[in-house]
Amino acid sequence: MSVARFWRKQINRYNLVGTHCKTCDAYYYPPRNVCPKCRRDGEIESHKFSGPGEIVTYTVIHTAAEGFEHQAPYVLGIVQLDEGPRFTSQIVCKPEDARIGMKVKPVFRKLGESGDNGMIYYGTKYVPA
């Protein structure tokens, strides 16, 4: 991913900043500019999430994505935050320890690096709570 494309969402990734719709009280992480439920009637504000969540589903990836080869096997999961939204995250734990319903909490970690320009991405991953 290009530096510019990553940089734009850096605050959101580093600090778990998403959005909240004041009209319907729904929370969004990743952030959204338009509430999918209220559409133009929605009123979006920035929201920093508290952090804890639980695993909705997960996989152990053995054939890694490009740039993640040295991390394989790694656990990838869909995490549901206590405020409601779901997003995709790596779960830092032993593959055999992962399970649906596991309580997890955020940690600041290196996400990956892009081969050509050597940029290192940081952001939030999850560990067992």
Partner: protein, 390 residues
Amino acid sequence: MRDVAIIGVKNTKFGEMWERSFRDIVVEAGIGAIEDSGVSGDRLDGMYVGNMSGGQFVEQEHIGALIADYSGLSLDLHIPSTRVEAACASGGLAFRQAVMAVASGHEDIVMAAGVEKMTDVSSTAASSALAAAADREWEGIMGATFPGLYAMIARMHMNQYGTTSEQMAAVAVKNHKNGSMNPIAQYKSPITVDSVLNSIMVADPLHIFDCSPITDGAAAVVLAPADIAHEYTDTPIYIKATAQASDTIALHDRRDITTLDASVSAGKRAFEMAKMTPADIDLVEVHDCFTIAEICAIEDLGFAKKGEGGKMTEEGETAIGGKIAVNTSGGLKSCGHPVGATGIKQVVEVTQQLRGEAGGRQVDGAEVGMTHNVGGSGATAVVHILARER
């Protein structure tokens, strides 16, 4: 709106074709479909070409013009040619655009084609190109792969409905058996449940034999208004419904991770348009990019109760001769999955079945068939219903 009919079809062989180029294979499919239809190429009013990632796989964009040119339809004729992209649903969507062009009365004789050349790059580069169909900023950046996303669907399906690895393997076994009777299929040798379960793990719980392979291939069909279709062929196949639906690009935003709501919605719209129910369908080509995808598809389209797709497959009800024949062609699993071509290949298979030309994999007395083509992890679904009778 006018009724629309298919008057010609052609699939190239699917597989690793290192000796042939992108343009070679799509021209073969296009010329083949035109020959099959009996029209001459200069009668075409337009072309719609499904292609997902020419830019990444062969470093070629401007695919519509390229194909018109190399089919000999640019010089003097200047036939309009449009590329259509919706990830792995690009072919199905190109077919839908062609159907709408004829139905609207704007164009008469129209070609819909699909093509992908995936083996000109390394498998890592191919996987990376495919990952662009998911949410790069919020899934890809975390190390998500396509098998990984479908593996998370599979894990949840197993957790909620008791679906087993053996049931998923049964999808692959059935599709390889069907594909063994399809001359165009990439993999023609039958496999067993054990060989699936003993193959290497790609993304737990999906083994490599749960995944469709990386493939080169092209397919094309020629459409005409139903009123004049008999001028060209004795066996026109009629389009009873065309439907498309969208869903969230990221898997994590879905209402229910085990249900592809885009498939549910497109399926419902198609059945309404055709005034039919699942019981009217004799065979269906569904998007089995992974074995769990076929299980979800037959549930989402209403051929199986939610949660019973795996059981139904294991019990043989989706085999040729069963309650509903699913993926008689061998599906993406055994034919291979040249992403932009798959949706058109599904239409070719159903057409051949309804014409009674499917050889050893023929479904007896097939009257009505369906195609179901998915883009990404379910952000696009395109469904068509085809029939022998107008």
